[in-house]
């Protein structure tokens, strides 16, 4: 088994090495463009679907695209989380919630667009787009990850020596910032308690 150290260290490096060699890999590759188009289409369909059940189903499809995108960007831990949470959990919980409410039979398939709201949202979106210029390209050597190697490369090189764990992501999560992960776990726990309170229950099952 190669383990996850080459998986992490080789990730950005392989992008940089492949890009100039292969003619297919331009600024945006075909797989990137199609996956991004898929994600954008599903996101828009989720936002505009009039039927709630259709929105839930299309949202499941959105997570499929996001997981493939994360996989392409060599973030397997994130992709795995996206797969497990959204395919396995979110859709099911949303469907259960729908089963407890009523669903209106709509004539039209899509929401009508409220122009002032769309204008406000578009304004915010344009403002966010302005910051895109400052974000380094994927795999760019100018990215802070690479321009600041004393900090970031230290984790990739020293993780195995210090923790004897091959997956750097897990080492960072559980060891280097373990206290933060403890807080996250407690937040998940508190989320369950909060759901009990909101639904006026004393017991889960």
């Amino acid at each position: 088994m190669t383990g996850a150290v080459p998986l992490v260290t080789g990730s950005v490096g392989s992008v940089g090495s492949v890009a100039p060699v292969s003619p297919v890999v331009a600024q945006v590759t075909a797989i990137e463009a199609s996956l991004l188009a898929f994600v954008v289409f599903t996101a828009l369909a989720t936002a505009f679907a009039r039927d709630v059940l259709a929105a839930v189903i299309v949202f499941g499809a959105y997570s499929l695209g996001m997981a493939a995108l994360y996989t392409f960007y060599r973030a397997p831990d994130v992709a795995l989380t996206e797969a497990a949470i959204s395919a396995g959990v979110t859709t099911v919980l949303l469907l259960l919630t729908l089963a407890k409410t009523t669903r209106i039979d709509h004539e039209t398939a899509f929401e009508s667009v409220n122009l002032p709201a769309a204008g406000a949202a578009g304004f915010l979106f344009a403002g966010l787009l302005l910051t895109m210029g400052d974000i380094p390209a994927i795999g760019s050597p100018d990215a802070p990850v690479w321009s600041n190697p004393d900090v970031t490369q230290w984790y990739l090189t020293e993780t195995y020596a210090q923790t004897h764990v091959e997956n750097t992501v897990m080492a960072v999560l559980a060891a280097f910032r373990g206290f933060d992960t403890f807080g996250e776990a407690v937040v998940v726990f508190a989320g369950g308690i909060a759901a009990l309170i909101v639904l006026h229950r004393e017991v889960f099952a």
């Binding site: 297919v24 898929f38 499929l64 493939a68 396995g88």
Partner: protein
């Protein structure tokens, strides 16, 4: 070194063609999205989401091969197992309008 890095035609490696194939599958998924959004009946949507899930499993497997990262197959496996859950959840929801839910 590996098969994926072997040059096939005109500087394109096998990995490039695999990525191109994955892009083709993604375009097919966009086509299937029409049925998931439009689908007049819920059965259409169930089938559409099932096909989308299977499509994603194929895309993830191709990506795993193209990037020569065998561990990425775990994600494809998770989707293969959980897409079934999504399909039976939606179909059970459709059959009894949440009566069994």
């Amino acid at each position: 070194m590996s098969v994926v890095d072997a040059t096939l035609v005109a500087g394109y490696t096998v990995g490039d063609f695999l990525l191109l194939a994955a892009a083709g599958f993604t375009v097919l998924a966009i086509g299937m999205l029409y049925r998931a959004v439009k689908g007049p009946t819920m059965q259409d949507r169930v089938l559409a989401v099932n096909v989308l899930g299977t499509n994603t499993v194929v895309i993830l497997a191709i990506l795993s091969a193209a990037l020569s990262e065998p561990t990425f197959l775990d994600i494809a496996l998770v989707y293969a197992l959980l897409n079934f859950l999504m399909a039976i959840a939606i179909s059970k929801f459709t059959v009894e309008r949440g009566g069994v839910l």
